[in-house]
Amino acid sequence: MEPLVVLDNVNKHFGELHVLKEISTTVGRGEVVVVIGPSGSGKSTLCRAINRLETIDNGTITIDGKQLPSEGAELAKLRADVGMVFQSFNLFAHKTVLENVTLGPIKVRRKSRQEAEKRAMELLERVGVANQAKKMPAQLSGGQQQRVAIARALAMDPKLMLFDEPTSALDPEMINEVLDVITGLAKDGMTMIVVTHEMGFARKVADRLLFMADGRIVEDATPTDFFDHPASDRAKDFLSKILTH
């Protein structure tokens, strides 16, 4: 598989805390990689580092053959190609749903308003919230907001989508509507890195599963191998705690 994202020996500290320890991995084009692990294991930091919302201390991150620029217009250009979906949705609070989706295409891709709105409506249709296009984000449920956030990221035609715990802030009844959208994207061949606590979803959608603990990638396996035959004690311990119900 052609590599799209390459992490080589990435380290990061938050003060004394070593949150990412010698992380090296490759995500191929079209691959769906799900990252799981206990809280504080560094999985969110890893996800955020890939579009440089977190800086790294050393090591390199390469996306589509280009090393991540450190600041400025080059970095903005790279981020435009990497979609990001946050735990807390982060829709622009002062803009309508439709404006949230068209802002990037208009300002960054220089599309005409008409063209951007047409594409935005298609995407909102796809994630099932087209009828909310004129509303403000605060008028939508969490699940709807998160689906709008996915549409906003897709509107940039990204090469890669990053999901940072996309369902952790949602009421249980809204989790599936969001996971269904993400699963649909995976089926369409989008390259994705998904940080999640939803094990059923991870098993279903992942091509590869990374298990992180204490800032390291402890296991890198297919979902079947990981859930049925975890290799490390750390993973066995983790699974025994979450799969007992």
Partner: protein
Amino acid sequence: MEVILDNLPLYLRGFGMTLYLLGLTVLFALPLGALVAALRISPVPSLRVVAAVYTEWLRNTPLTLVFFFIAFVLPRIGARLDYEIGAVVALTLYTAPFFAEAIRSGVNAVPVGQAEAARSIGLTFGQTLGNVILPQALRGVVPPLINVTIALTKNTSVATGFFVFTLVSTGQRLANQNGDQVIPILLGVAFFYLVITIPLGQFADRLEERVVVNR
């Protein structure tokens, strides 16, 4: 009362100059303050330092000292300014950091996730600020900006000591000429300041009552 009505032209002259100083200073200090606030939150460390040093230095210096600097130090190095222009320069340099801090506090009140989302769709720092952060910060920023403007209105009186004929100059001159009517004369001066500051305060109150962006 009569002394005020009899000398209305002199009051209006002082009032006019006070408004002139206020208007020009706001005109220059507000953009300068916005620029300083932008530098202060920019991703470039050296720009942040420049903005922080300027802000802390001017904000913690008495306004009179800033006036002295403009009036007596600048001419020594060859820059000679009109008294009125000098006053506007001094007031602008002094007020911009207060505007900057008001804007910065409004910007800081916008959740950090908004900026992260803007950056993650590829907006540059300037686009993020202009399209996402400032529009949300603005409503919260207007009341403190007005407070600074009210303080500025009163600060224009410092120019009196530097050969500019403000409302206070009106009071001084009339009080010298009419020693027995100092109280109504000064009340008249205060009245004209209130004509500016009270509407500003009411405007700020009304804005504060309106709800900020829904989250």
